[in-house]
Symmetry: C2
Subunit: 196 residues, 2 copies
């Protein structure tokens, strides 16, 4: 009896290998053969699921987004800014994901399919944030939060030695405190990350 | 008598051609042959000045930085946030430069020479901003300004149709007004962009 292959499991494994590879070598240095080796599948199996490097980048990115969305949906009692800081490159795993994220930016401006994923992801997460913030300028504040996280995160990704987690958090607090002060943060259980 | 070549002029012309090429096709799509054609020089002349694509990217980036620094040094009487907004992708030229900038981010995390340029540029511009802002937390506010500009600018570069100039400026104002309020903005003639 041939070994049964779970396509979802295999796709997930390849996406994880792609994240490791892009984070380690950049998009230019990432070769399909190396990803398949890292994932423990044949190159033939890999090309069955992904036709080119952009398709692999897309899968890596979707895996990163899913994790971020899951993190955002977690219910806990910490202050809101502390939760937002979790999206920054403050540990090994998130630093890796930020490297993939930045590699993606460099391609997305030129590949419409990637640009679409970017836009959809930001729309989802921004809507979820706005719902959590509440009030009439919630959408603007949510956009400002995204910009602050992106601005600090990209900087910290390119200058990790100058941007330890404590400095990233302090700058995020400086930027967001005046915007969030006086804002009623809704019950975090309402934090809805589904696609509208 | 052979035609005399001004190396600085030629380097500048190649750097401009590289900006056009990277902005149009991305870093992956940029070929040295196409840059040399666009610059009106032979491929041999181009490879005399630039050994590989990263060297061209570096030159393109330095040209972009020089222009931004020159813009930052301009003395005028507009409100400070309006001046900062000039660094965003709010017109055709700056949109082009942002595409180069973002392509650069995707490479800089993996190429130490590019990372160094990034760090030096940010240090220069941040020190100049801090001197202009003045006061004891000027360095933090300067870093926050850079993060706000980067966060909005990267977003607008990837979603230009959703981020017209007016929206970029409004978000920048929302983010920076509370930070700059009550801050004494020094005489703009003091805005020093030289390397410390």
């Amino acid at each position: 009896m041939p070994k049964r292959v779970d396509p979802d499991e295999r796709r997930a494994r390849i996406a994880d290998a792609a994240i490791e590879s892009i984070a380690a070598d950049g998009l230019d240095g990432t070769k399909l053969a190396r990803i398949s080796r890292r994932a423990g599948v044949t190159t033939g199996a890999l090309t069955h699921y992904f036709e080119d490097k952009d398709a692999v980048l897309l899968a890596a990115l979707e895996a990163v987004c899913e994790r971020l969305m899951a993190k955002a949906a977690e219910v806990d009692a910490r202050p809101a800014i502390e939760q937002l800081a979790d999206a920054l490159p403050v540990d090994e795993q998130s630093a890796k994901e930020w490297r993939v994220w930045i590699a993606f930016w460099g391609r997305a401006a030129f590949v419409p399919a990637l640009a679409r994923v970017h836009r959809d992801y930001y729309r989802r997460i921004e809507a979820a944030l706005a719902a959590k913030i509440g009030g009439e300028n919630a959408a603007d504040i949510a956009a400002a939060i995204m910009a602050a996280v992106d601005g600090i995160g990209s900087r910290a990704t390119l200058e990790p030695e100058l941007w330890p987690p404590a400095r990233q958090r302090a700058l995020l607090t400086l930027m967001l405190k005046p915007l969030l002060e006086g804002k009623a943060i809704h019950d975090p259980t309402e934090f809805d990350t589904s696609i509208a």
